[in-house]
Symmetry: C2
Subunit: 543 residues, 2 copies
């Protein structure tokens, strides 16, 4: 299905006017300011129901036993599974059965009213995302698809003297309240599509799993305000983080210990989300930003001296809500100086990528059909590690490429150790996994497209990935003087190249230099040896 979500490029802030004449706009800022190099620098708004259309598939078998009792009490059955994922929301039954507690970061709870509808108003920012404070209460405005607008209206707070989490309000009461808040502007509802009232408390699950067989994710692990639309996004990334790891383990590629990286990686994100939610809430409720601060925050992207506390928080939150702020800490997947893989070739000087963070975005020209494409989106979510070979100048790297191609195909390499059992019968149409289900290889030359001849320039097995060969010949405003913008954006040498390994979920695992001899393959072998099931040997090839 092809939807047309609303797009939010900027957020507007409205506060009480000085002389109690209703509300005035005190400033706007970008959803995703220019200092974040985002492919899509805006927030999209789409009904969650339009996304929740895919069925969950369960993995039948072993160690998890679930006793199901039919609701009418007539029968019982036992289901055995390898894993169980509890993504059943804030009141998770599975979390309760596991006896896992919830920690409340911020003890303040709220009751919110949320109303979707079509309105008639002279409020000028009705198509913007807005936070409105007034002496009559607060409203959040969220533009929607199909002329609709969503309003969030705070109905009660646990700091109120008469607080009750069961406090409620009718649609008419909430509309009357909104009308007072919007003064001096008028607002009328032509149609109410949906209205609901619900209590929200900030909380984080103490554990995401006890035994690495039963896992929790989504609202079962973290609850917070709906202000930044992070609930569903964070839940998706929980599931994505776990899914490829289970696949890697069950397919015999990664050691079972890999699953232990799920909780720390995702719990830290949830902790950050809640801290952010806290700060975000305080920024809005305690101290509305002055217009000049907002302006400063939008413009001074690189200056550090000007950054006051407000600007810093703003920057952090923008990076966070854009998705570019997710940062997984060091572990077997995310190389750091304490990783078992040790080589002076790893993370060479100049590298701009950070392990545990998203791969940079870059436009390149695909050689086979001359299409201008988004390099970071060229490999689908196929469960494979993505090996990006930045090949620099062929005149410089020809031998290094040849060595690497040969060593990849050697049996003891990380690549040669995990070939497909059906490798001899794979279709010539297979683009991404002709050799291994765990790796897809891209090669990017610092050259113009018409200088590259795949059958001549790509040695050995690299040439088989002919649909994934690129010319780094597109100008990029972020690195205006670079001859090879993609090389420059990831920070590898435009002549000598380098290798970037990206995890199946899009986060950078390791970056190495591309050199002649065994150095590159051995650095990569050591990296994968930290979590792969087979003993990956050092290359013994005579080159």
């Amino acid at each position: 299905m092809y939807h047309k979500p609303a797009r939010v490029y900027e957020v507007a802030f409205w506060d009480p006017a000085s002389a109690s004449k209703g509300i005035v706009r005190t400033g706007t800022w970008a959803s995703c300011p220019a200092f974040i190099d985002a492919r899509y620098p805006f927030t999209t708004l789409l009904h969650q129901g339009l996304i929740e259309r895919s069925d969950e598939k369960e993995n039948p078998s072993y160690p998890v036993e679930i006793n199901l009792e039919h609701a009418d009490g007539t029968s019982r059955e036992i289901v055995r599974a390898k894993y169980l994922f509890g993504g059943e929301g804030a009141r998770s039954f599975i979390r309760e059965q596991l006896g896992i507690g919830i920690t409340h970061k911020d003890p303040i709870a709220h009751v919110w009213g949320v109303m979707d509808g079509v309105v008639k108003t002279d409020f000028p920012d009705i198509k913007m995302k807005c936070t409105i404070h007034s002496e009559h209460g607060s409203v959040m405005v969220i533009p929607r698809e199909n002329r609709m607008v969503r309003l969030y209206i705070q109905i009660a707070s646990s700091t109120d003297p008469d607080w009750s989490p069961r406090k409620t309000a009718t649609a008419a009461e909430v509309q009357a309240s909104a009308k007072r808040i919007f003064q001096p502007y008028s607002i009328e509802w032509e149609r109410v599509e949906w209205y609901s009232v619900y209590p929200i408390g900030q909380g984080i699950s103490d554990k995401y799993t006890l035994d690495h067989r039963v896992f929790l994710g989504g609202d079962a692990c973290h609850t917070h305000s709906p202000k930044a639309g992070q609930g569903m996004n964070t839940a998706f990334l929980d599931a994505q983080n776990l899914a490829w790891k289970i696949h890697a383990v069950e397919a015999g590629f990664a050691k079972r210990e890999l699953l232990k990286t799920y909780e720390p990686e995702r719990k830290e994100v949830a902790e950050n989300l809640l801290s952010f939610d806290n700060k975000y809430a305080k920024l809005f409720s305690e101290r509305p930003p002055a217009a000049k601060e907002v302006q400063a925050a939008s413009k001074h992207a690189n200056g550090h001296s000007e950054d006051n506390e407000f600007i810093k928080t703003f920057k952090e939150s923008c990076e966070f809500t854009s998705g570019y702020g997710v940062a997984y800490g060091p572990n077997a997947l995310n190389w750091s100086p304490s990783h078992p893989a040790q080589s002076h070739l790893i993370h060479p000087k100049g590298t701009k990528l950070r392990t545990g963070r998203m791969m940079a975005n870059a436009d390149v020209t695909r050689v086979v059909d001359a299409n201008i494409v988004h390099l970071e989106q060229e490999i689908p979510w196929n469960g494979s590690f993505r090996i990006y070979i930045f090949a620099g100048k062929l005149s410089v790297t020809a031998k290094a490429l040849k060595d690497l191609a040969f060593q990849l195909s050697e049996k003891p390499s990380f690549f040669g150790s995990y070939l497909r059992p059906d490798i001899k019968t794979v279709s010539h149409h297979e683009r991404y996994n002709p050799h291994s289900l765990f790796f897809t290889i891209c090669t990017i030359f610092a050259a113009a497209r018409n200088e590259i001849e795949i059958s001549r320039d790509l040695p050995g097995l690299l040439g088989r990935y002919r649909d994934l060969v690129y010319a780094d010949d597109r100008w990029d405003r972020r690195v205006p003087n670079a001859a090879a913008a993609a090389h420059a954006k990831v920070g590898v040498d435009e002549e000598k190249g380098g290798v970037v390994v990206v995890r199946p979920d899009g986060y950078v695992g390791i970056v190495t230099s591309l050199v002649e001899g065994n150095g590159t393959i051995n650095a990569l072998n050591a990296y994968f040896d930290a979590f792969c099931t087979k003993r990956i040997g050092e290359s013994r090839a005579q080159l």
Copy 2:
């Protein structure tokens, strides 16, 4: 429906190798080189059948009488219509009935085989658009959606000694022929989706209409080779050109004479298409371009001295096939010095737009929701003239805008003369035609988005088009030093602004300065007075 067409960014040329070792690539060039400022600089390839899904709607009534006889001879009926459009292809029955002849620009005719299928090949450019010449014949390669490829293979030419327009060939014969042509590369078919053989002759209809009631368009008017995929595109533009004019006449807005602009505008395009087709064919068949010529053509966009005949033809053809080359000559719609509208304000110095050509593309920020949008696509094909008010700096233009807003609403203006009869009951959701079905107004300020306040800055009726107010604050690489890139691209003063009138089909009608007093409105009134039904008076307003 959402399709995924193949995209062609470059075309490759293959020719016989010097020592008869099969074919070699002699060069590539861009489908839409950088000297054309195209929004989408590529060609899309999609099955025509996926596009031909809309039913034609006929306009019942008067002067055209059609006598229909049922195919089984059992009955007859008479249909009366206001208009009849003959778009029934190269063998048009209507054209024949009208006794309109065909002129053949190039007497040479061809028989082509066309084959869609999935292949296995080591030919490196199978995903590129290619023209292949070899001692065994010629092939054109067209990449397609779903792994398919289309091959055009010339089966016979009227220059052959044994020429017959009824010559044919089986799929197997064509495949055998293709195999010889592709040497030294191999090609095998895994699946043939579709195969057909058809004769093609170049021809152009002598007239597009006799009485401006029965019109011809599409292949009924022009036939040519399929080389550049221009057949369907040209047919669409025939229909589009006629459709809005009929609407304007039948709705009482334009004089019936407007319909007389259809034939000259579209016939000239067809003449150009056939000349282009001729040259294009000759470029390929007579003299394959040398690699260095192709390179020169792609790189020297502005240099004139380097342009040899080949490069010139190349440039012309690229602009033509991109759609940006359509140029309608002077008439009542396309202002020129001989147009009745005469004012020193018209087409002021610096204007980069050309009347009868497409509006320039430009990114701007929409004020109501801060979305970055394509200005030239902001108004849908709604049959309205598009009034783009480039408002420059508000501090400079405030009075000129106020004057124009007032004068537009005056009864004798082109705008005030054609208000909607239901103007009082139009919904506040109506974005494009709140006042008139014949005009939609956009206002673009040379300012940052947050400096613009619609309710404060847009006088009178201009403010009603609140969804079509823009900040010209996006940097554009084509005018890197402009403070207001959209103003700079159309060539209006970044301080004083200007007004651009674009025809309902997207072609520029007239450009005027934006000045205080009556000058601007009177220039626009005189322009519309040349083809509107009502007598549009001069503004008599006291300002």
